[in-house]
């Protein structure tokens, strides 16, 4: 049996643009949905008079806007501002609201560097690849200027590698993974560099890395098999196996368009 959540606010004609997630928001429910998905991207740039004004003028909820303004004056904390918003909208369950607020309170106790990394990780998870890369490089620019241990830096390089791999920039990805491995000695980073080489169909590079880092042949076979299995199960292959040539041409065109659209989104 379906359940229904009552929308108590209007749909805005003019959206609120939440810069951190690069999304237009037309309702309070959408705002809360995005907050839940991107908790680490909720920061002081969002809790603002601009948002309060939008809630008052576009959503038509002056009471909520005033309550949020009061909170900004009194507390000026992300967790308390968001708590009021979540409670008023009623889109998430009480426990979901509590979890978000607890996480935000926790973030308020973390260092700026830790928070920035969590943000960059969130951007990567939300497919905002270019922005995540930018943020990771910003963090790396602090090396030597702020206290960051090898493990922390290594993790940044690893995630950078993942970001480049998502953009099919495998050379850059390989370099990043190997840098991560040199700092953390995490075998996973080394494996990722081999995956990147294999995905690029650069056998020479693949074996160079294997030899330089003395990778076990079992691991090499595992990597090759996983990649081959992936291509075998890939449904986009069905597009190419279509017998009807006209339909096949149409399918290929549609697939290309879809992939282009996805890639553009990753770069947004």
């Amino acid at each position: 049996m379906g359940e229904l959540i009552l929308c108590t606010s209007l749909l805005a004609k003019v959206p609120y643009f939440w810069e951190n997630v690069s999304e237009n928001v037309y309702s309070l429910e959408e705002l809360v949905y995005l907050i839940k998905k991107n908790v680490f991207l909720v920061d002081k740039t969002m809790i603002s008079e601009e948002l309060c004004t939008w809630i008052e003028m576009e959503i038509g909820d002056k009471l909520l806007a005033d309550e949020l303004r009061q909170d900004l004056k009194k507390n000026n904390r992300v967790s308390s501002f968001v708590n009021i918003l979540l409670d008023r909208v009623g889109y998430l369950s009480a426990s979901e609201n509590d979890n978000i607020v607890k996480l935000l309170i926790e973030l308020e106790t973390k260092s700026e560097l830790e928070v920035e990394k969590l943000k960059a990780d969130q951007l990567l998870k939300s497919d905002k690849i270019l922005r995540s890369i930018k943020n990771y490089y910003k963090l790396l620019s602090y090396t030597g200027k702020r206290q960051m241990d090898d493990r922390f830096i290594g993790n940044i390089w690893h995630n950078l590698g993942s970001a480049y791999a998502r953009l099919f920039q495998f050379n850059e990805a390989i370099d990043c993974f190997l840098k991560a491995y040199s700092l953390t000695a995490n075998l996973n980073s080394l494996k990722m560099s081999l995956y990147a080489a294999f995905c690029e169909k650069n056998e020479k590079k693949f074996y160079e890395i294997a030899e330089e880092y003395d990778v076990d042949t079992v691991i090499l076979s595992e990597i090759k098999k996983n990649v081959e299995d992936f291509y075998l199960n890939d449904s986009s292959d069905l597009v190419f196996t279509e017998k009807n040539s006209k339909k096949k041409e149409e399918n290929v065109k549609n697939l290309i368009l879809e992939l282009k659209k996805e890639y553009k989104k990753l770069c947004s």
Binding site: G2, I5, L6, T8, L11, E29, Y91
Partner: protein, 427 residues
């Protein structure tokens, strides 16, 4: 026997309001009657066409001179027609078949409904002209029968006269009778109440009964038309009354209309007055309309409820989560005028693509659930689909439910899909 237009101090629950002004109109194809109430009065009064008399009927006639922009109406128009030669006069504009008919008035063209609007504007202003009332009244017009066509004509006329749905309403005679009775002393309707409405050749019988088993008390009104009726035939009418009253416990009787003019009711009145209160007069429906304006426009709580032909017969609701509290959101309430009732809401779908509608008859505790499946709704994450629900009654026992996929902003674009269902009253 009593006249029912004399002042009485009511011991019932008439609303007394300050600075408010209400008008009730009885309208048929031959005449109109206007009753009004303001805070200076104990009960509604009816405008008489001649000062100090009990003549309330205003003939449905309009007249106009070529060189004059002013319209004359009623008795004034009749006298004018008798004197003047070059005039435009019309009297049949409140007939269904004439609403869209065109009338040539010198160089101008009017439709029947335009003339009706002119006439109504004149009579609505009557009480304020005579008694110097300055406020804009709330108006209720009662007539024999209402359908959607009539409703839309009057709704349009109301808007053109500067009113809205809350301040300009139409009801039928049954409803007017109901509102009249619930504003009378409770002794008058301890049991059944009969109303006989007689014109020159027809007789209509309204029987009001109530069920004390429910709270609020449900009032019912039966209606019957007697085609062959001749005023003046006292004996035959008396026999007819005996037939109507047989086996009934009737507390009061109302004799309304021109058909009872002329003092011919001798035997009939003798019979009726045995153990009953009997009233004779002409302005019951206009007063009932005035009482309706006083109660409906203020949304007052009353101990009675009447489901007329134009009233929606069941409650239609959905169960929603509102700030983490489960509650029922009523889309259409039983008793709402079904021409006026319409409800829109927006909800977020969760855990599936079905919407449950709860249908409940007012006298029942239990509700029946009718589930609508939104077929071919795109598959999205949970709580990432906003839908609009519009419920519009199409008759007093069925409602058109329209559901539209609104998507979820830029996150999920609307599929532009919509679904229509007709829901009927539960058995």
């Amino acid at each position: 026997m009593e006249i029912f237009n004399t002042r009485k101090i009511e011991d019932n629950n008439i609303l007394t309001v300050e600075n408010e002004y209400y008008i009730g109109i009885d309208l048929n194809s031959e005449y109109a009657m206007v009753s009004y109430y303001c805070s200076d009065l104990d009960t509604p009064e009816t405008v008489s066409t001649t000062y100090g008399s009990d003549v309330y009927q205003i003939p449905l006639i309009l007249a106009k001179n070529r060189n004059d922009t002013n319209w004359l109406y009623g008795e004034e128009a009749i006298k004018y027609i008798e004197r003047e030669e070059e005039i435009f006069a019309v009297k049949d504009f409140f007939r269904i078949e004439n609403m869209d008919k065109t009338y040539e008035c010198f160089d101008e063209i009017y439709e029947g409904k335009d003339l009706l609007q002119i006439f109504l504007c004149k009579i609505i202003n009557l009480p304020s002209k005579i008694f110097g009332l300055n406020q804009k009244p709330k108006v209720v017009i009662s007539m024999k029968k209402i359908d959607r066509y009539i409703y839309e004509i009057f709704e349009n006329i109301g808007f053109k006269l500067g009113y809205d749905n809350n301040t300009f309403k139409i009801i039928d005679y049954k409803e007017s009778f109901y509102y009249y009775m619930i504003n009378q002393s409770i002794q008058l309707f301890q049991n059944n109440v009969m109303l006989f409405f007689a014109s020159r050749d027809t007789l209509e019988v309204y029987k009001l009964s109530k069920s004390n088993k429910t709270k609020p008390i449900i009032v019912d009104i039966d209606y019957k038309k007697v085609e062959q009726f001749t005023p003046g035939e006292d004996k035959e009418f008396c026999e007819f009354l005996k037939e109507q009253m047989s086996g009934q416990n009737v507390t009061s009787v109302y004799l309304v209309g021109n058909g009872f003019d002329g003092n011919w009711l001798l035997e009939s009145i003798q019979f009726l007055c045995k153990g009953r209160r009997v009233f004779i007069g002409k302005n019951l429906f206009s007063k009932g309309a005035c009482y309706t304006a006083m109660l409906k426009c203020k949304n007052s709580d009353i101990n009675y409820v009447y489901f007329g032909e134009n009233d929606f017969k069941f409650n239609l609701s959905i169960k929603v989560q509102n700030r983490n509290q489960m509650e029922f959101l009523t889309l259409i309430s039983a008793g709402e005028n079904y021409y006026e009732a319409k409800s829109t809401c927006e909800v977020i779908l969760s855990k599936g693509n079905t919407v449950d509608f709860w249908k409940q008859l007012p006298e029942c505790r239990e509700a029946k659930i009718e589930a609508i499946t939104l077929k071919d709704l795109p598959i999205r994450e949970d709580k990432a689909t906003r839908i609009k629900i519009v419920a519009t009654p199409i008759s007093n026992d069925s409602v058109d439910v329209y559901v539209e996929d609104m998507g979820f902003g830029d996150i999920y674009k609307s599929s532009n899909k919509s679904w229509h269902y007709i829901m009927k009253m539960p058995a």
